[in-house]
Amino acid sequence: MKTHTIKMAVLLLASTALIAGCGKKKVDVLPPAAEGTDYGQTPTDPNAGTGQIVPGSQEDFLQQVGQFGDRILFDTDRFNVDVEDQAVLQRQAQWLAQYPNTRAIVEGHADERGTRDYNLALGERRANSAKNYLVSIGVDASRIQTVSYGKERPTALGSDEQAWAQNRRAVTVTVR
């Protein structure tokens, strides 16, 4: 079951850490240096109002698309974009059209109730589904990258259907 009206007790919003995704870095020595850290999650409250939100920023994006507007959800093992998802993605596409210098990364995720490699593949499917729809409604494909996190980055922490439903998601993160 997927729904955008599920209230979360704590809203953990993704803020973007700059991912050095412009080009692949050849890593010579391990442990790796500070750059190239992978995606991290830090909680921010876009409604705090303490600072000015810069237009075209990720905070701006989140504010514009609304709560949960940055993500679409999926049924178990599914990766199709249904009508509800389309509405969400259309709002995202509108914002992206407003700020043509921004790019987006669509993250694909799966819930913990799957095996690791398959979930990486499934997350990739979900990310691509969302990307394909965005492209189909006019967003330039070169502006959108996909990355799968499989089951590595749950957003809801429980081991129940509610939590799993929230974790089966494709999340759009904008990058300047």
Binding site: A20, K24, K25, V27, D28, D38, Q41, D77, L122, V147
Partner: protein, 454 residues
């Protein structure tokens, strides 16, 4: 006696003899017919075998960089004892609680003393420090019941590798008494986990098969997943998010450097070595569709695409002879197990039980394929390469990703706790017995077992 009486006596004897000869000649030994098959004698095999491992004798105590040889003698016995006990086949005594043995006893055990304890098998040995500073470790296995020696071996190692000498002794003892190939002298690669469920720190780590000599390889700044030792232990294949995307690297352990296995910008995951270490099997997603590929381990040459179904084809494991590959695919609508030739031909499904089947791994013994079965809970099991004889070995909320000990007798997997999501590494005997947790410094997942060290 009259002659006639004598004659009659002789005649009767002859007749008897004739009759007997006829009896023998007329009953040639035929094979025993089924009805004459001996009655069945049944016995049970659940009993563990008792084995005593007193401290190894250090006849000329000397200091080494790894400690005094007397202490090493005790530590080696402890490792031997732990290995044998961990296998689930033996119940061990000592070295704690056992009296010290003299050097002469090493080759001339006091069988009556050990028989009275009682104990069935006895391991005795010695540790010597050579002029070159290396250790010479000798270990002897005795059958107490029969009062004789079963086997003896000697090893010469640098002091810092004393544990390997202990593992080699334990391996020889285990092999001799069970018929199995050895597996104690080997290393395990896995992912060490810390942190909250939604912000896990995952580091590549390696350790001995008993958890000793633990070492972190990555520092956790980037998520590391699904490692595999190369068959020669020189490299580790693994998945890293170090550049923000899932990519497979070959990490050279000695050099401390790594390289990508393919320059493709597509996400790659689920890396595996071929048994000869010459080929790398991996999965790559192109435009959202994941297929199984192989590429030369040296990095030269182009990848070969092995599957092409519109479904997710992922993972994979070579048969020990390198001629077949078992992998998982959801082309039928749900995750199931398939086998194909190493060139991608003749892909056929082998799992037809109830539930979904994932993470297939071919046993180094070639006789079985281990898998994760998903039917509500996640359970680790085995089936024959034709899909028959399915046996489930574990029964927990989420056990997954089995890999094999190098002798194909023990299966290692990781267990996720419901709710907390905390992971731990476990092992279970092929018979389903002796399920035990492998101690790790922090949580652990994705365990992979390397071969027996040369």
């Amino acid at each position: 006696m009259s002659l006639f009486a004598l004659h009659r006596k002789l005649a009767s004897f002859l007749l008897l003899f004739l009759g007997a000869q006829a009896a023998i000649a007329q009953t040639p030994p035929p094979p025993a017919p089924a009805s004459d098959e001996p009655e069945l004698v049944e016995f049970d095999t659940s009993k563990t075998r008792s084995i005593a491992v007193p401290a190894l004798v250090a006849p000329a105590p000397a200091d080494t960089p790894a400690g005094n040889s007397v202490a090493l003698g005790r530590q080696i016995a402890e490792v031997i004892s732990s290995d044998l006990r961990a296998s689930g086949v033996f119940e061990t005594q000592g070295p704690n609680g056992l009296r010290a043995i003299s050097l002469s006893e090493v080759t001339s055990p006091q069988f009556d003393y050990w028989k009275a304890r009682p104990v069935e098998q006895l391991v005795q040995g010695f540790v010597r420090v050579g002029g070159d500073g290396n250790l010479t470790v000798g270990c002897y296995l005795y059958d107490v019941g029969f009062g004789n020696e079963t086997t003896r071996l000697g090893f010469n190692v640098p002091p810092r590798e004393w544990r390997r000498a202990a593992h080699k002794c334990a391996d020889a003892i285990y092999s001799r008494l069970t018929g199995e190939l050895p597996f104690f002298d080997s290393r395990i690669a896995y992912i060490a986990e810390t942190g909250p469920k939604n912000k896990r720190i995952k580091r590549l780590a390696i350790m001995d098969s008993d958890g000793a000599n633990h070492r972190f390889i990555t520092n956790g700044q980037s998520t590391a997943l699904t490692p595999r030792f190369s068959p020669n232990y020189k490299s580790i294949l693994y998945l890293s998010y170090v550049d923000g995307n899932p990519r497979i690297y070959v990490y050279d352990i000695d050099a401390g450097r790594q390289r990508l296995i393919t320059q493709s910008s597509n996400p790659t995951f689920a890396p595996r070595w071929s048994p000869d270490g010459q080929t790398i099997l991996y999965s790559m997603a192109v435009s959202g569709n994941t297929d199984v590929y192989k590429i030369s381990a040296t990095g030269s040459g182009s990848p070969v695409k092995l599957t092409s179904s519109p479904g997710i084809d992922v993972g994979g494991s070579f048969s020990p002879d390198g001629r077949q590959i078992v992998f998982e695919s959801d082309r039928s609508g749900s995750q199931q197990i398939y086998v194909m030739n190493a060139d991608g031909s003749n892909q056929r499904r082998i799992s037809f039980g109830s539930g979904r089947y994932a993470t297939p791994e071919w046993s180094p013994r070639a006789d079985l394929i281990a898998f994760t079965r998903i039917a509500g809970d996640f359970r680790v099991g085995t089936m024959r390469p034709d899909g028959s004889g399915e046996r489930l070995l574990t029964n927990s909320w989420q056990d997954e990703a089995p890999s094999w000990a190098p002798n194909g007798r023990v299966i290692q997997f990781f267990r996720t706790a419901k709710g907390s999501g905390k992971t731990s590494i476990w092992q279970v005997d092929l018979t389903g017995s002796n399920e035990r947790r492998l101690p790790t410094p922090v949580d652990g997942s994705d365990p992979a077992w390397g071969p027996v060290l040369p």
